[in-house]
């Protein structure tokens, strides 16, 4: 006979951590609250004018928390309650997505290895200050290398619990 014992935790029971998780040489915590915008335009200059901000010009570049994700797409991670103009009537799209994602901070000398456990990019080759959209296993994330050993990770709200625990599992494994 085949015996399948109950185990303690199921996907339904996972809860998003609130307190930082400390591993050896790596720490996972929540980023502080941010304002987030999805910014789109064919012509960056029009958008820059609409929101009165400079935009990075090359995919993967980041300026003051505004990341160039694609040829006509920027993602702004700004101090909480920053409000951008909508640019009504202009050929631009400014959408407030502050609540769509949560930010995690993964930091410490072991952070790169933990992020690499599920992110297929060559992270060591990613320069400080650069950012990109990518995946952690099957979950889409935006990563921003804020410092040599400090990564800001954006993940859509409903995937955050899974990602938190997947990162924690990788931290546990790397001990």
């Amino acid at each position: 006979m085949v015996d399948i014992a109950e185990i303690a935790v199921s996907a339904a029971e996972l809860k998003l951590g609130t307190e930082p998780v400390q591993g050896s040489g790596v720490r996972l915590s929540h980023a502080d609250a941010r304002a987030r915008y999805s910014l789109r335009a064919r012509d960056a200059a029009v958008l820059e004018k609409a929101i009165s901000r400079k935009l990075p010009g090359k995919i993967g570049d980041q300026t003051d928390g505004v990341i160039c994700l694609g040829p006509d797409e920027w993602y702004a991670i700004l101090p909480e309650s920053t409000a951008l103009q909508r640019g009504e009537g202009l050929p631009v799209s400014v959408v407030d997505v502050s609540s769509r994602a949560l930010g995690f901070v993964l930091e410490g000398p072991g952070a790169l290895a933990v992020l690499s456990s599920g992110c297929p990019l060559d992270l060591a080759r990613m320069g400080v200050g650069r950012a990109t959209r990518t995946v952690f296993e099957t979950v889409e994330i935006v990563i921003w290398r804020e410092a040599e050993d400090r990564w800001h990770i954006e993940v859509w709200r409903s995937f955050a619990t899974w990602l938190w625990h997947a990162l924690a599992a990788a931290m546990h494994a790397s001990k």
Partner: protein
């Protein structure tokens, strides 16, 4: 009892004893021993029983090529692993290993009776019999065969271990850390790039581990590599396979070599490595020789005996005969003799032996028999002697021995090369396939490239023997019990391609995947067919290189982390209030909220009553949402959806129907125009990502001239539906900046303002047929606003309701659910949604397909309502509908029930159905044949409640 521990030598730590058990018996070895070496040192020759004939088998090899000595290792509850190779299992204190595939014991295996009758079980025997009587295959023969087949037992309990995984990147990946691999690693590392060096063994060194002369160099090189920052060395790590563009997957064994109490952390780790260049230094595997008795325990590869002696300090016998066709056998014999392993004779099929080797053997007092072949081996549980004959002819002479070593030449390990679709060329002088061309940045070095210094030799199939092939009992594939004669039989029966021969005989299909049998099988087939090896072909190597645990492949994706389960921000509240959930796409949603001992029907009835009589609150956050922004937003939606959008005024909502280009409904939802250039779209929960992807496709590739952009806002907004005659009363105290009066805020309108001090997009929409609002607030405020609404609602006796109640309420109104009332083959007209198709629009996605001949043909299935004649009969969803219930099976089915519920509101059951020509059948009675009874029902329009819509406009 032949093997013994040599007085000195080996890399084992003779100061540290390890105790373990094998088949329940206490055993011991030294730190550094493998299970095989430790048991050989104790004189154990018998390790396993073969798959088919249950013949007694000993050790063949000292590495992963081992086909015979398979054991089950038990590390406690849930931690049993079958089919491990004894030479690759390191001993540790407490190791518990048992032999497999024997009953009741290894020594006395009753199923070995198969061996007596082996003549009746040649290759492919099962195709030729077990056919009569007809039912007996499943009832009698197959169960017996299944029970006799298999190797070890499967685990039967949940595995408590966890597994790790990672991606890694490097400029150079070297697979195999023998001398060639280490040299390649040092060379690559000097260039400064990132270097990975991986090896499957307990420590790096490969062949050098069995050559004490290289140990000093090895220690130096190992230290040098360890000191380099850009070098990662992974031992106990098997490169499983090579995939596209130098993506190499490897599995590292982290804890199985440790005593159970010391094993912490994950059991194995999956390495997914992308490399600029891959260097394969996987070495070569020695080939056995095919002669009568070559499977008696004590017959093994010469290289294995060398490894056991020089690496583990174990002699595999006291009187050893070497059967060679290759110089390497002589070298191994000499090295063994020098190490104190008694070699009594070297038999070599070749007459001309390198004089230097022959002289050295003579000097070592080893008898030499050039031109001879072993024609039989005596003994059953262990070697008792061997008969040799000149050129394999005649009666021959007996040699007293307790072990026989085979040196049949070498097969380069080209598996990963082959995974990468690298081509192979047959090299006659090596008698093996060597790497040729590849389109990857991939190269082979050392023995796997054919660059070895073992000397030269012959490439032979079956050794010459007095018996003809069809009587030979010489084995080719030891684990699967494939004899040389089976290959002969396959050829005789018309199997000429090596793939056919492999599949017919099962040669090379055992758990060693033919590492020692493929080339011998090929050579024998070549000899029988009198055709060169190259015309018969080589079977394709497939990953994995050696068997790897499922656990390693799934990494973190185990149990709670298997897949994300998406929950809304209000989900916690639902859980605290006793919600029963259902999974919808990646989400879980509250299905109903039972109170006390209510079952689903009772809870749903109560929730429905509350919505119809007072108010209900529903978490609709999982609905897909897309913000469409830009000057061309209306034009874009006009092209995507079936209905017109340009005329929609800001502040108003519209139901949108989305087709695939094939003309069938794929999604729907109510969307709002917030501003001339800004729309808030909604999609189904399951369709969100698909719809966004489809819209992006059209926008980027067909209509890239449009100035409009799409942003997913599914997770930006929590959505709280407040539905029922008291809905306005519930939200009124909380809303600011929006005039909620019916005149100012009619049905299908949207307003922006605040609720509970939080910005809101407030929709006046209804999926229930009642006065209703959908409160959109930023997700982080969802729970807070929900609780505020709930508190207000309670004053009106509100019910929280779930998806099941939502389904009933919408069905009463005849609103469809895409995916339930449609199934990917339903057009707007089929679903009764012709009104939602813009007749004047020149084009929209799917329009042209709606004009295809079968789509406009009469008799298509159309959505209708059904009322059962017995009002208490609730039809089963999915039940099939017929016009004539008395016809024989197979019946002509004219449709099926798509939605069916008991409606508390109406005090009877209701159903929706797709029925052929349904709208022409109004008033007709149709039949639903169920097991045991047939239910009759009348066709009507799918609208059961408040047809005029006075309630939702209230």
């Amino acid at each position: 009892m032949s093997g013994f521990r040599l007085a000195d030598g080996g890399r084992i730590d003779r100061r540290t004893k390890r105790t373990f058990s094998f088949d329940g018996k206490a055993q011991w070895g030294y730190a550094g021993d493998s299970l095989a070496s430790a048991l050989l040192a104790q004189g154990q020759m018998l390790f396993g029983r073969s798959f088919k004939y249950h013949r007694p088998r000993g050790i063949l090899g000292a590495g992963v090529e081992e086909p015979n000595a398979l054991v089950t290792v038990d590390r406690g509850p849930g931690r049993m692993t079958p089919n491990l190779r004894a030479p690759s299992v390191p001993v540790h204190d407490g190791l518990t290993a048992t032999s497999q595939n024997r009953f009741p014991s290894l020594k006395t295996d009753l199923i070995a009776v198969n061996n007596v009758f082996s003549a009746f079980f040649p290759a492919g025997f099962y195709n030729k019999t077990f056919m009569w009587p007809r039912a007996a295959w499943e009832k009698v023969y197959e169960p017996i065969i299944r029970r006799l087949a298999g190797l070890g037992d499967s685990p039967t309990t949940r595995d408590p271990d966890h597994y790790d995984a990672t991606y890694a990147h490097c400029e150079t990946l070297i697979v195999g850390a023998g001398p060639a691999g280490i040299a390649a690693a040092l060379d690559a590392a000097a260039g400064g790039g990132r270097v990975f060096l991986i090896d499957e063994q307990e420590e790096i060194g490969g062949g050098a581990l069995s050559d004490p002369a290289q140990w000093a160099w090895l220690a130096e090189a190992t230290a040098k590599l360890a000191a380099m920052d850009n070098v990662t060395v992974l031992s106990r790590t098997t490169a499983i396979g090579h995939y596209h563009q130098n993506f190499v997957v490897a599995a590292e064994r982290l804890t199985d070599h440790l005593p159970v109490g010391e094993a912490h952390g994950p059991r194995e780790k999956l390495w997914r490595i992308r490399a600029g260049e891959v260097v394969l230094a996987m070495g070569a595997i020695e080939r056995p020789l095919v002669f009568e008795g070559n499977d008696v325990p004590g017959v093994m590869l010469a290289s294995a005996a060398r490894t056991f002696a020089l690496r583990y300090g174990v002699a595999v016998g006291r009187k050893i005969v070497v059967m060679a066709v290759h110089d390497s056998g002589w070298r191994d014999a000499l090295a063994l003799q020098a190490a104190g392993v008694p070699i009594t004779a070297i038999v070599d099929l070749r007459r001309d032996i390198d004089p230097a080797l022959a002289d050295a053997a003579r000097d070592a007092r080893i008898a030499c028999y050039p031109g001879y072949a072993i024609t039989s081996v005596s003994g059953s549980l262990a070697v008792k002697g061997a008969t040799i004959a000149l050129a394999g002819v005649g009666k021959g002479q007996k040699l007293d021995c307790d072990a026989v070593l085979m040196a049949g030449g070498w097969t380069p390990t080209v598996h990963l090369w082959s995974h990468a679709k690298g081509s192979l060329r047959w090299d006659e002088s090596w008698g093996a396939f060597l790497p040729d061309k590849t389109h990857e940045n991939l190269r082979c070095v050392g023995a796997c490239a054919g660059a070895w210094d073992f000397g030269s030799g012959l490439s032979v199939g079956l050794l010459p023997a007095p018996k003809p092939l069809h009587e030979s009992k010489a084995f080719v594939d030891f684990q699967n019990d494939v004899k040389a004669r089976d290959i002969g039989l396959a050829v005789q029966e018309g199997f000429r391609s090596i793939e056919h021969i492999k599949r017919y005989t099962t040669n090379g299909m055992a758990t060693d995947q033919g590492k020692t049998s493929n080339l011998n099988g090929l050579q024998i087939a070549s000899d029988v067919l009198s055709r060169p090896v190259t015309e018969i072909g080589l079977t394709t190597f497939r990953p994995p290189y050696t068997p790897q645990s499922f656990g390693a492949m799934l990494g973190h994706h185990k149990e709670a982390l298997f897949q994300p389960l998406r929950k809304s921000g209000i989900d916690d509240w639902a859980q605290a209030h006793g919600a029963v959930y259902e999974n919808v796409a990646q989400w879980r949603r509250a299905r109903f909220f039972p109170q006390g001992s209510e079952d689903m029907d009772a809870a749903v009835a109560r929730e429905c009553r509350m919505v119809r009589s007072s108010v209900g609150v529903f978490d609709a956050s999982t609905l897909g949402k897309i913000e469409v922004v830009g000057p061309d937003a209306a034009e874009f939606l006009n092209r995507m959806y079936t209905n017109p959008w340009k005329s929609l005024e800001p502040g108003r909502c519209r139901y949108g129907l989305l087709l695939g280009e094939h003309g069938f409904i794929i999604d729907d939802g109510v969307s709002a125009r917030l501003a001339p250039d800004r729309f808030h779209l909604t999609t189904t929960t399951g369709g969100a990502a698909r719809v966004l992807g489809m819209m992006e496709d059209y926008l980027q590739t067909e209509w890239s001239d449009l100035d409009v952009w799409l942003t997913s806002t599914t997770e930006q907004w929590a959505v709280i539906a407040v539905q029922g005659p008291r809905a306005r009363d519930v939200i009124a105290p909380l809303v600011e900046g929006i005039d909620l009066s019916p005149e100012a805020f009619p049905h299908m309108a949207v307003r922006e303002g605040t609720i509970c001090g939080v910005e809101t997009r407030l929709f006046r929409v209804s999926f229930t047929g009642e006065l209703g609002f959908e409160v959109n607030v930023p997700a982080e405020h969802g729970r807070k606003v929900w609780e505020a609404i709930w508190a207000e609602g309670e004053k009106h006796g509100a019910a929280a309701y779930g998806t099941e109640t939502m389904h009933v309420l919408r069905a009463e109104k005849g609103f469809i659910i895409v995916g339930q009332d449609t199934d990917g083959t339903v057009t707007p007209d089929d679903a009764g949604l012709g009104w939602a198709v813009g007749k004047k629009k020149p084009d929209f996605v799917g329009k042209r397909s709606l004009a295809r001949p079968d789509i406009v043909a009469p008799g298509r299935k159309q959505l209708v309502g059904l009322l059962t004649d017995d009002a208490q009969d609730v039809l089963e969803e999915g039940a099939q509908i017929v016009a004539d219930p008395n016809q024989p099976v197979p019946m002509t089915m004219i449709g099926h029930v798509t939605s069916s519920y008991y409606s508390t509101t109406l005090g009877r059951s209701i159903a929706m159905a797709l029925v052929a020509g349904g709208r022409d059948r109004m008033g007709e009675t149709l039949y639903i044949p169920m097991p045991g009874k047939t239910i009759s029902a009348k066709v009507l329009a799918p609208m059961f409640y408040d047809a005029e819509g006075s309630r939702l406009n209230g």
